[in-house]
Amino acid sequence: MSIHQISVFLENRVGQLAQITKILADHHIDLRALSIAETTDYGILRVIVDETVKATDILLEQGFILSKTPVLVISVPDAPGGLAQVLALLAEGQLDIEYMYSLFTNQNGNAYMVFRVSDEAKFTALLQSHNIPIATNEELGIH
């Protein structure tokens, strides 16, 4: 099963983000990654957590508007040029990046990047043909 990201609608208002992280903390949910896309009035908080279903239920219960999106998480060598080779691949394949951000996790000398691209199937095939590993839930300790 692919890794799911939770996207939450955020109003640009003092304390919104603090409120969400507090809720997650109270329920012992650990963040694996976090990124925010924003305009002047609102934003989208994107998180990957260790317990996706539980976190989704709790946030919905608290009245947040959210969606679950499958994303590709790729492990790249945590060394100069690690990311560059993946991006070169995307450019070669004429693929657009909708957004990308990194995980906090670092294992066995590897860093992890979250990708959302215009053509996921094509990207997956490209990665496989170049032996670039796609991370699994198990690998990242996500239930």
């Binding site: 990201q5 996207s7 609608f9 955020l10 109003e11 208002r13 919104q16 896309a37 924003e38 305009t39 009035d41 609102y42 934003g43 989208i44 994107r46 009245g63 947040f64 508007i65 959210l66 969606s67 999106t69 909708e98 959302r116």
Partner: protein, 432 residues
């Protein structure tokens, strides 16, 4: 020295005006009865015939007309003349659902322009003046009305229409405009621009006629000081003709209603009962000279007070106060009528909940309209681009409906303030 355009009417004795009103009302009721089945039916429902209306004293017997009637009867239901006798239409701001189309014969336009000429003359206008009209031209009554009035007075008329401030200022300086006609907020904006560009010494304005939106005494003093002019208020509505239904004189303590054309009443907006003179209530107009679109007892929804106290200008026409509010939920933003129901209709059509809040403010003397909309699970997407697209299409749909720009602000669900479980729909922060 006070100037009058038609002194024999503007300064006529109360008896003369009343006699004129009696005669014209009786004739008008007959005209409507004979030509407007829609209103005739309303009269019949109350068991009335034209014979029941012998004078202004009988006016209260007649049924009211409201904006809803105008909508129900759209477009021809209240027309009292064959179309071949009509030469013009004007319309309220381009809004579906609440659109009002008014028809004019040449005679109607003539009398309307007389009313505007009275306003310009009361503001000191003569055939020596250069009158710059920057109300919108087109369906909006502001431009055409003042334009016609200015012609009648004999002013050199600059039909500028609204906007294009650079050009406005260039003409104002090059052609030495002496009278400015526009909305008060645009006047304030022009005043600011004149100061910014250091043009104060190059303009020759002496008077301004500002209407179509509410403005405070403070704003008047500001504009007067900045432009070195005397600023006059003017009142009107498309339904009754346009600007010039009432106008201010040199005393600046209210607007004289052109009573030879319009009979004004003040009613209790809840009961419809006519209130004694000097009471605060809803203003109701009966147009007694209009041929094509004669409205009897039209409820303006504007709340104000009428006074017959002697005016230092010498006019005997009754004076109305500035409107103090509305008896419905209509907002006037940038001179445009905005109904919350229109905004609600757009939201629903665009897939949003009818959970919204309208915030009106006045920033730098210009109205702003913000619409707060609660995000819904259906409209939410992981893509910022998609949300922004939806927001843009909502802004465009609102613009198409209202005719003015409204800023949309997407907010988290359940964040719109509710009092007693009911959302507070409108917050008007303007200090008027």
């Amino acid at each position: 020295m006070e100037r009058y355009y038609q002194p024999e009417l503007e300064c006529a004795s109360r008896e003369t005006i009343l006699a004129l009103q009696n005669e014209r009302l009786v004739k008008q009721v007959r005209h409507v009865w004979d030509n407007v089945p829609y209103y005739r039916k309303k009269m019949e429902e109350k068991g009335l015939t034209p014979d029941d209306i012998q004078s202004v004293a009988d006016l209260h017997k007649l049924p009211f007309l409201s904006k809803d009637d105008l909508r129900d009867a759209y477009p021809y239901g209240l027309l009292a003349k064959p179309l071949k006798d009509c030469v013009r239409i004007q319309s309220t701001s381009g809004t579906t659902g609440k659109r009002v189309v008014a028809f004019y014969t040449q005679h109607d336009i003539d009398l309307w322009e007389d009313c505007c000429a009275r306003a310009i003359t009361a503001a000191g206008g003569t055939d020596e003046d250069v009158c710059q009209v920057c109300y919108g031209y087109g369906l909006f009554t502001g431009g055409p009305g003042l334009n016609g009035g200015s012609h009648k007075v004999g002013c050199l008329t600059l039909p500028m229409s609204s906007g294009n401030t650079d050009r406005q200022l260039q003409f104002m300086v090059d052609l030495q405009s002496t009278i400015l006609c526009c909305t008060p907020s645009y006047a304030a904006y022009l005043a600011e621009s004149i100061h910014e560009r250091g043009l104060r010494d190059q303009i020759k304005l002496k008077a301004g006629i500002f209407g179509a939106e509410a403005w405070s005494e403070e704003m008047r003093r500001d504009i007067e000081k900045q432009l070195g002019i005397k600023a006059f208020d003017i009142y009107g509505l498309t339904e009754t003709s346009g600007p010039g239904v009432a106008f201010e004189c040199s005393e600046q303590t209210g607007m004289h209603i052109n009573e030879d054309h319009f009979i004004a009443e003040i009613i209790d907006p809840n009961t419809g009962e006519v209130l004694p003179e000097g009471s605060k209530g809803e203003l109701v107009f009966t147009s007694i000279t209009k041929e094509a679109f004669p409205l009897l007892r039209y409820r303006t929804r504007d709340i104000c007070v009428l006074t017959r106290e002697k005016c230092s200008c010498g006019r005997t026409l009754v004076k109305m106060s500035k409107p103090m509010g509305r008896s419905d939920d209509m907002l006037i933003v940038k001179g445009v009528n905005v109904f919350p129901s229109q905004i609600e209709a757009v939201l629903i059509e665009q897939g949003y909940q009818a959970n919204y809040q309208i915030i009106v403010d006045r920033i730098n003397n210009s109205d702003t309209l913000d619409v707060l909309v609660e995000m819904t699970p259906e409209n939410f997407s992981d893509s910022l681009g998609k949300i922004t697209e939806m927001e843009k299409s909502l802004v465009a749909a609102l613009k198409a409906m209202l005719g003015i720009y409204a800023r949309v602000k997407l907010v988290a669900p359940k964040t719109i303030a509710r009092s007693e479980g009911k959302a507070v729909r409108i917050i008007d922060k303007r200090k008027i």
